[in-house]
Symmetry: C2
Subunit: 655 residues, 2 copies
């Protein structure tokens, strides 16, 4: 890439050519804050670390991890003495953001030679974010039922497992809208199959569940099992729909099903073909999917495994020394998600052959696009739930994400709070973390505290992996506390849905750092553990173990709302400033902005899920000296005809 | 073990027999707090997790880790409505403490059948801790120079590396008392050797450094390299000093030197023999050691490696499926610190043959005891610096510890604050964490914030592993900030040393949770990120990135001390209660209790290390309405004749 002399010094960042491609750099003042980068580790303010867009399936999310599952190359440099700006680096390959790690006050972005860089100026942080969102297109809108409480676990294997989960929620009066099917529902992990032994009448079972208000949401993995007689495999081979190796042979990786080929979802025909396969499940009543393993994760490639085995076998009879031991360990551990493997297969982008590593970060995006494009044909008027593990800027038009395989760590509860606004800036509105933590054993208090933030995330799903402590909420001593928190979610649903829809339809942020709402407040920019949720609420969850309260900063006078249940609720005005707020383990505490209101659904006993909530009436929480206006959005929750802005319902609320 | 009927219900805990041995259990009230357990993960209040005493070398200290390097089976249950008590489970094997993980309000301790359990009642938390300390004996006292600033890194290989480190500190005016020699100083990692190519005149070099005020502190690892002609190996074999396998052969493990035998430090003759080996280094001028890899860490055992290799080789020609892949990975990863290996070798405890796993947790303890007992002979009147990675209750009489292989994570800075009082309760006073973090890349701000807590830890050592970012303080842009912080440490030295000595000589806690000083203050028991340091100071370090301040709780009126340097210092009285306190990145902030004072050394320019500090004069920070008394302890810092309590110097300080 040649950079013209005149362009080498842009107004806001220096552009230089480096071996890897290009480098963009700028100085930051001490007070500057960097927001964005979507699904990444660390704080809302991204300063002090290097973030690398390089989609990676690795479930140990320590604070020194440079890459997660998604690649969201958009950030905003919020500056005090100069205009703030946003920068989007459009590059489907590896991009690194050194945000003051090497030098405290220097940001250096390194991208490939063919990247496109967008600079976005605006009147405010909100405006910059909005302009970026306008650029990248409208966010995906999930069906309303997908805003209900959802239960998942790797380990629900068959009908009776699922029935038991649903029964136990109902028995305890816990509202529930969906149960997830992880990889075990399939016949030997083959995409678009259902194991007939485990689910002898799958459509019947789907309907049985739906009659109880419960949607079943199956997982779809990226890799297609290599197995003679398996139609998807055979069609893929026949159609030339799979990624190819150097020799033009279908590339072989190994994932859950064992050896697989990867659909070339960057090719429009392959994408259409793969997307069309979702139809079979939809025809059986399925109306929601989660796309997984689509970085794509590769446990090992056939070629690399052969090399490793050859190396191991060559050690036969030799005295293994320390060097040999570490080498063995390294090559075996290095098999998974190996960068060399990602350089060893190719896409046919409608005629252009491109090596996978150059476009690695848009694989999951295109798998999800494949599904979404198919849904437009299969169910054109209906919303289908869809979210993905891997993602890239732009995928937000087709589905949401979850934040991947987190752990039952208190630090991951805080992390999820910090990730939400960054993801919203990148257009990803339908999002949540695995509540209670996916890996590792949760505890009763962690799950309950996590739910107290989860009541605000559009995707509110409790999910855990095989072998960890059972973490359905009925597994714990004080089930009542969990029942109440989940019930409060349904009480908040009119607000959450309203605010989500406004954010989606008007390119706004549902979750915002405090400084987006209070740009003049220097302290607001320092707050890392509170977040604005919709137009009225500031959330300030408790995220440390054994805490019975926390410090909260109010950037203006606010109303403290304390809820032990929908029935047990108090409100208390509090003054702008720093406060220590008691929050018992079984209490939800949040704050309402001045001159704002929010609706709560009045829930009667017959309500079991969102399916029964069509005709709810509202009560209101209102914080104003006089009447306050709230714009309430509602619709049927399922059709793609959204209420146009001029018809959004304005409600005048008086205390 | 038979438990008499009458003993099955003790006053404070229920005792029951289980398969593994015995279980002690009790109910906790919501407000109860559990302190102690020494070197463990998570908060000062240990509730909500299961801690396992099972010494383990694993450098990834995530919050779900159940075991670290030390085993400190002492805890205090602090109760509001009933008397608090301490419990010490003396069992050198595996002990598990479920402190409300399974059930929020239940504590269950599981130990082996031969454990001895001590219950300790007392008038207060301080009193319970003190009684326990009286029981276990007086804490180790380090030489005064070991309270200076110390620099370490795995990767200083030879004389010129060390000279360079010292030179660059001096060039930048950074005070320095010691540089560490990690495993590379040895000839092929052989204990009690020095590589003559790297250090052609070791005693000369030791003296050269000492002339500059710098002590060299070499590492000693547990495993002795198997190598014909290596005297330590040959003497060990000849004397029968090594641990034996089932067949009575010397057990073979592999660690850094490759194949090794492990000295049977539980045998008094072997201990005497191994300890005597330190003499050779001491005769060359060495006066400090750190004992490492003494859990003992085992990368693999010869037998287990053979088994694994056989399994791998049996796969030859077979089609490796997913199961095979995971199995290969598991067996290879499972080689290190394998529980079966720990069951496969034996100690000769002066005539009693005992399987290692039964006494696993006292191996490091006894290696350190070996050294300390030898020092008593080699240098009976002089203090020698000694600390260990693995430890057990009682080892505190022989040396200190460092908190092992932490990471450059902000969460580990907070963890180190939380670990300190717990370790003090177990008698371990000479302690510190690897400042800046051992694993992973540090950042300038993390190192600086960590130093701001490190100024208070008796062991103040910057240490990092091979391959990470260079983290000597002169590597960063704002060296002045680091120079100032380290200089402040030397300014605080009279106080730190005084308080350390008082804690050691009078069985007190140098670090205390706030509730130990303020038992009537309910909020003090909730504070997890502040700690009392000696009698006058409350530390409240900043431990989150990009923060320019933090919330601080003052349990009484205190004096805020703000120091950018020894010269730039302000004091400000603050009222009891909650405060948000600004703390710039280059500022140390701490608090002084009411009616307390502390001395600061007046440092002139000629001071390069503690070696030049003999005749310092003092200035005082004082917080009282009238004159305040401070008891100043001082001595020559090196002899083992400590000043008796009646001669401790009382100073009356007036503002």
């Amino acid at each position: 890439m040649e950079i013209p002399e005149s362009a080498q010094k842009l107004e806001v960042m220096h552009l230089t050519k480096v071996d890897a491609g290009v480098q963009l750099s700028c100085q930051m003042d001490d007070e500057d804050v960097v927001y964005g980068l979507g699904e990444q580790m660390r704080g809302m303010n991204k300063r002090g670390f290097t973030y690398v867009s390089d989609a990676l399936d690795d479930a140990v999310h320590t604070e020194d991890r440079h890459s997660l599952y998604g690649s969201h190359n958009f950030l905003i440099l919020s500056r005090k003495t100069q205009p703030s700006f946003g920068v989007f680096v459009d590059d489907p390959g590896r991009v690194a953001f050194d945000v003051g790690e090497t030098k405290l006050n220097q940001m250096v972005i390194t991208a490939g030679p063919d990247c496109t860089v967008y600079f976005i100026e605006g009147e405010s942080l909100k405006d910059i974010a909005k302009q970026f969102r306008r650029l990248i297109g409208r966010s995906y809108i999930a069906p309303k039922w997908a805003f209900g409480y959802q239960q998942s676990r790797w380990g629900y294997v068959n009908e009776s497992d699922v029935r038991e989960v649903v029964r136990r929620h109902q028995e305890q009066g816990i509202l529930l809208d969906a149960v997830y099917l992880d990889i075990d529902y399939m016949d030997n992990y083959k995409d678009f199959t259902v194991d007939a032994d485990k689910f002898p009448d799958f459509p019947g079972f789907v309907n049985e569940m739906k009659d109880q208000g419960v949607h079943l949401v199956p997982i779809i993995d990226a890799g297609v099992k290599i197995e003679e007689g398996y139609p998807i495999y055979e069609e893929g081979v026949a159609g030339g729909y799979f990624c190819k190796d150097e020799d033009g042979e279908d590339f072989v990786g190994a994932v859950w099903p064992g050896k697989v080929h990867f659909p070339d979802v960057l090719n429009s025909k392959a994408r259409q073909w793969f997307g069309g396969k979702y139809r079979w499940l939809m025809e059986q009543g399925i109306d929601g999917f989660w796309n997984d393993m689509n970085e794509p994760a590769i446990f090992y490639s056939e070629k690399n495994m052969q090399k490793v085995m050859d190396e191991l076998l060559a050690l036969k009879g030799k005295n293994i020394d320390l060097h040999g031991f570490f080498h063995m360990r390294d090559i075996l551990l290095g098999l998974s998600n190996n960068p060399e493997d990602y350089k060893s297969f190719y896409h046919d982008m409608d005629g252009v052959k491109i090596r996978h590593d150059k476009v690695h970060n848009i694989y999951g995006y295109n798998m999800t696009k494949a599904a979404a494009e198919a849904f437009d044909e299969i169910a054109p008027d209906k919303r289908t739930l869809l979210f993905s593990r891997s993602s890239y800027i732009g995928m937000h038009r087709y589905g949401g994400i979850w934040t991947g395989d987190n752990s039952s760590w208190w630090s991951h509860l805080l992390l999820s709070v910090q990730q939400m606004p960054a993801l919203n800036m990148c257009g990803i509105l339908y999002v949540g973390s695995d509540i209670g933590g996916f890996g590792s054993d949760t505890t009763e208090d962690l799950l309950l505290r996590w739910l107290q933030f989860g009541v605000f995330t559009p995707l509110m799903r409790n999910h855990a992996t095989l072998g960890t402590r059972q973490q359905e909420v009925y597994q714990f001593e004080n089930v009542e506390d969990f029942r109440n928190m989940i019930r409060i979610r349904y009480g908040l649903l009119p607000y959450i849905y309203s605010e989500y829809m406004k954010a989606a339809l008007d390119d706004e942020l549902y979750f915002r750092p405090l400084s987006f709402d209070y740009p003049e407040d220097d302290h607001a920019a320092k707050v890392e553990d509170q977040v604005m949720v919709g137009e009225s609420i500031m959330a300030a969850p408790v995220y440390t173990q054994n805490a019975t309260g926390r410090y909260v900063y109010l950037p203006e006078d606010m109303l403290l709302v304390r809820m032990k249940s929908m029935e047990n609720k108090t409100c208390e005005p509090m003054e702008k400033g720093h406060h220590y707020v008691d929050v018992a383990l079984n209490e939800l505490v949040f704050f309402v902005k001045k001159d704002h209101a929010l609706p709560l659904a009045v829930l009667d006993e017959k309500i079991k899920s969102t399916a029964n909530m069509e005709d709810v009436s509202y009560e209101w929480i209102c914080h104003g000296d006089g009447p306050v206006e709230y714009v309430l959005y509602d619709d049927d929750g399922i059709s793609k005809k959204y209420v146009p802005q001029k018809d959004w319902k304005k409600v005048i609320v008086d205390k």
